[in-house]
């Protein structure tokens, strides 16, 4: 379980970013969207995605709502909240800083 920690920061970032671009996605759509927009490189497992979604919901960054699908089943769709937008900004700049630093190290080496 602990090994997900390193990835977790980036999973949050990806989910928040996706939701900021396309509000009201359900879990499967988020998963497919991440896969699609990363060119099938990043694959998020369900076992990680849903805990992350619930955690961010608890933190108040996203909120969820039940909607009816065409099949008659209900789906739960997520959208960004105001504090989620702020969090996205913070995560983005942190990611930039980190990747910048890593790139710099790689170049020097």
């Amino acid at each position: 379980m602990a090994k997900t920690d390193a990835l977790q920061g980036s999973l949050d970032l990806l989910v928040l970013k996706l939701l900021s671009r396309r509000p009201r996605l359900h879990g499967y759509a988020i998963m497919s969207a991440i896969a699609a927009s990363s060119g099938e490189v990043l694959r998020v497992e369900e076992g990680s995605l849903y805990p992350a979604l619930y955690r961010m919901e608890e933190a108040g960054w996203i909120r969820a709502e039940w909607v009816k699908k065409e099949t008659g089943r209900r789906a739960r769709v997520y959208e960004l909240t105001a504090s989620g937008k702020k969090q996205l900004g913070a995560e983005e700049s942190r990611w930039q800083a980190v990747s910048l630093a890593i790139n710099r190290v790689l170049k020097e080496a």
Binding site: M1, H26, G27, Y28, E46, G47, Y50, P51, R73, A75
Partner: protein, 881 residues
């Protein structure tokens, strides 16, 4: 997440689970719609249940829900293992029950404040004298103390007495107290009706008034409101009732005891009442002014008594005031005893916990596979530990609830069996603090015995657990289990040593020769008819002789004697004297003291005290014959060392300095008790004849007298004969206060015997628990090592070798525990010194016996596991895995 939504989530737990399922289903549906293979989609989801564990933990953040779930699961698990649950709950219930019971005694006696307003201001007052640190206060001294001090808000003085009430049917003996005015005001107790005594009531010559107890008022006066102003006839004198003392007053301090009747001290017709040097068994109480410390009061009283000593050097030289906080005075003697018991039951609980912990641990390692699977499915380690702790808490709470029952209902019954030695016994009960204590130890026990298994589980690596086929990493478990067993044996040894020391003390005490034969001696009092109140000296003597002769006629009675002075172990009395020929000492404090027994010639036969020299008192030593005295060996050796005391004379202060000739020497009697007599300062004893006492003393015996009779056969018919003889004399005379001297002797060591019984009980319990612990441990080891034993036997080990292996293992554990226990016992038994008699707290004999006993029990506990190990079939054992 707010607390509220957490709670709501917990309650909605099931709904939450359904919602999560629904979301997952929707997800899988999308995946299948997107063209994925349904089977693969579900599998790709990871383990749905794992996702759910993790998601769930997050969604509910769900401490409370977890708790509810853990508890529900725990209850299910515990119900599924009724044997385990019953053993654990009963073991703990026993431990918690006796701890709660003893705590409620400690709470009621030691912790709760006295039931009076501002109890911290109350002190017990005594006179400190050369012979007595806390001696009685003379009435004149008390009056001056009360008048001259600056630190007390109020002071009171009291002394017990017995009145014969007549004029309302048959004569009745009533317990009574002579009180100074304002005694109850010192305590803060108000009469339910009327008033208490005023200084006017206390002035000599005031008309007699009395207060009566609420019980007497209800039983004898029908609770009538107009009881005030009615008269009550006590010892033939009419007292006007002025107040009713509430039944809620239950107090025993120094010489005060809540009684049927209370009368002002000035109504006591004792010729010595106003003598400053008289010791008449008065003791005082006082209430300090607000803000005054006992230290300030002591300094103040030092000034007061110093002034009195200067003013009355004959009587008051060397006399001070001693004061003891009242609670200390009342319960001080019981403190050590109770704390020792409290410690002992704490130890029993500790053993119970260790036992249950090792049971739980053995079981937890059996459940290793369950925990490993849950961990693999994503349940966090914390979650599993929480689960285990919840289970043990459930057990602890169940045990507490069950343990409280005997504590609640058994306690009152147990207290009735208790010797009257325990002060404040009536105040013991279940209150908030006791309940809080019971809950606290239930929870603490739950955590204490639950922690070890939880800790072991936490350290376990799920993968090895799975690989080991659910047996867990047994090496660590064995070490922990061994530690438990060692602790159990050590604690059991401490308790057994304590109990053993008590047994030895009592054996020693029973062996002590009291100096008389207590068997078949009955003591009682007879009240004389009120008409005797005005009898002359001659008539009084004649009456006593008549009663003596009548009693001697009763079938079965072999010797009769009145006893007006001290009674061995039951009543003290002392007198001053000086050796004839020497000048009379200037002050009382320079006089010689001796315990005086004022008896009839048959006394020696009644008590079977050995005559050492000369003769005892005889019928010829009457009021016309010269004054004679018989002394004991201690007296002879102290005052006439190396001389023949027969024929020597002593001058008796009570007889106005009249000389008495020593006519005989008898054996010493243990007046102060079987245990402490040898260490007392005042031990010299002498015997005087009832018929030879001075007239004023004799007239004091007109209201009644105390008797000792030796009898043959059964007591009941003899007592019946005595009663009917007394009734035949007149219906105004009555026999009361009967008790056997044997009971008095037994009562003097009752609290020790009680301590021995309780400690012995607790020790037996701890031995049993330790035995179960060792058995469990060895059985577990044997089951863990079945394969190893199989291999050994396959390689040629004989069954006897296997037997030996198990016994050795058990013996090694027991020996380690005993070593630890001996070290602790040597440190701890010193605390019970006060309860011991002629036994060292580290008595090697006791310790050796205890060690042998424990080792035997340990080996016995190994017997069944050893047999099981020895009967292992090598081939089957090797095939089992």
């Amino acid at each position: 997440m707010s607390l509220w939504s957490r709670v709501a989530n917990a309650v909605r737990g099931e709904r939450l689970n359904r919602e999560i399922d629904e979301e997952f289903e929707s997800h899988v549906e999308d995946a299948i719609a997107a063209g994925r293979d349904p089977e693969e989609a579900r599998r790709a989801f990871g383990s749905a249940s794992r996702a759910r564990e993790a998601s769930h933990a997050v969604r509910a953040s769900a401490r409370i829900e977890d708790l509810v779930q853990d508890a529900r699961f725990g209850v299910r698990i515990l119900i599924k293992n009724p044997g385990f649950t019953a053993v654990v709950v009963l073991t703990l219930a026993l431990g918690i029950g006796i701890n709660t019971a003893i705590f409620s005694v400690v709470n009621g006696v030691l912790l709760n404040p006295l039931p009076f307003p501002h109890p911290e201001q109350l002190v017990a007052l005594h006179e400190s004298k050369p012979n007595f640190a806390n001696g009685s206060i003379s009435y004149p001294n008390f009056l001056d103390w009360r008048k001259d001090n600056h630190t007390f808000a109020a002071m009171g003085l009291a002394r017990g007495y017995g009145f014969s009430m007549t004029g309302r049917g048959d004569a009745v003996q009533l317990s009574a107290e002579f009180l100074s005015d304002g005694y109850f005001a010192v305590l803060g107790v108000r009469p339910v009706l009327g008033r208490e005594f005023t200084s006017a009531d206390e002035t000599p010559g005031a008309s007699p008034v009395a207060m009566i107890s609420e019980a007497l008022w209800r039983n004898r006066f029908g609770g009538a409101q107009d009881v005030l102003g009615q008269t009550i006839t006590l010892d033939g004198k009419n007292f006007t009732i002025v107040g009713i003392i509430p039944a809620s007053l239950q107090l025993q301090v120094s010489n005060f005891q809540d009684s049927d009747v209370y009368a002002p001290i000035s109504q006591w017709s004792n010729p010595n009442l106003m003598r400053r040097g008289a010791g008449l068994a008065f003791h005082g109480i006082g209430r300090l002014k607000p803000g005054v410390t006992i230290k300030q009061a002591r300094a103040d009283m030092k000034r007061v008594t110093g002034n009195l000593a200067a003013a009355f050097p004959d009587d008051d030289r060397g006399i001070g005031a001693s004061m003891i906080p009242m609670k200390e005075q009342i319960v001080g003697g019981a403190r050590d005893f109770l704390l020792i018991l409290f410690g002992a039951v704490g130890f029993v609980l500790l053993i119970a916990c260790a036992n249950v912990a090792s049971l739980t641990l053995a079981r937890a390692s059996g459940r290793g596979r369950e925990f490993a699977i849950r961990a693999a499915l994503g349940a966090s380690r914390g979650r599993v530990i929480r689960q285990l702790l919840t289970e043990s808490l459930l057990l602890g709470i169940a045990a507490g609830a069950i343990g409280l029952l005997p504590a609640a209902f058994g306690l009152k019954a147990a207290l009735h069996a208790l010797p009257a030695a325990l002060p404040r016994a009536n105040e013991i009960g279940l209150d908030f603090r006791v309940l809080a204590f019971a809950s606290l130890i239930s929870i603490a026990t739950g955590i204490l015995f639950g922690l070890a298994p939880a800790w072991r589980v936490a350290k376990e690596n799920p993968q090895t657990a799975l690989k080991e086929g659910g047996r867990g990493s047994s090496g660590g478990n064995q070490r922990t289990l061994s530690a438990f067993v060692i602790v159990e044996v050590a604690v059991a040894l401490v308790l057994l040593t304590g109990a053993g020391l008590m047994v030895r003390s009592l054996v020693h005490l029973w062996d002590v020769d009291p100096g008389f034969n207590a068997h078949n001696v009955e003591m009682f009092s007879i009240s004389m008819p009120p008409a005797m109140a005005s009898a002359t000296v001659q008539a009084t003597r004649a009456k006593h002789l008549e009663v003596n002769e009548a009693l001697a006629e009763v079938p079965g009675v072999t010797a009769v004697s009145q006893t007006w002075g001290a009674v061995p172990l039951a009543g003290e009395d002392d007198q001053w004297f000086w050796i004839d020929g020497q000048p009379k000492p200037r002050t009382n404090n320079d006089m010689n003291w001796a315990i005086d027994y004022i008896v009839d010639p048959d006394y020696l036969r009644a008590m079977q005290i050995p005559l050492k020299q000369g003769r005892f008192l005889s019928r010829l030593d009457n009021e016309h014959a010269p004054l004679v005295v018989v002394v004991d060996e201690v007296f002879a050796n102290k005052y006439f060392p190396g001389q023949d005391p027969i024929g020597k004379r002593i001058d008796l202060d009570n007889f106005g300095g009249k000389a008495a000739e020593i006519v005989g020497v008898v054996g010493h009697v243990k007046q102060w008790g079987l245990d402490s007599d040898d260490t007392q300062q005042l031990r010299a004893q002498y015997y005087l004849a009832c018929v030879q006492v001075p007239d004023d003393f004799l007239l004091g015996m007109r209201s009644g007298s105390n008797f000792l009779v030796r009898y043959q056969g059964n007591l009941a018919p003899v007592l019946g004969g005595l009663r009917s003889t007394v009734r035949r004399m007149s219906n105004e005379e009555q026999l009361f206060g009967e008790q056997t001297i044997e009971d008095i002797v037994a009562g003097s060591i009752a609290s020790r015997r009680f301590a021995m019984m309780l400690l012995g009980g607790f020790a037996a319990l701890s031995l049993l628990l330790a035995c179960v612990g060792i058995y469990g441990m060895m059985a577990y080891l044997v089951s863990q090592r079945t394969q190893e034993v199989g291999i050994r036997m396959a390689l040629g080990a004989k069954r006897s070798d296997v037997l030996l292996l198990v016994f050795k293992g058990g013996a090694r554990l027991a020996a380690t525990g005993m070593a630890a226990g001996l070290a602790s016992a040597i440190g701890l038994t010193r605390l019970m010194q006060q309860l011991l008699f002629e036994v060292s707290p580290t008595d090697p004999g006791v310790m050796a016996v205890v060690c042998v006993l424990l080792m035997l029990v340990a080996l016995a506990a190994c017997f069944v596991p050893a047999r099981r190990a020895a009967s292992i079939e090598p081939m089957r054992a090797l095939r089992t895995e």
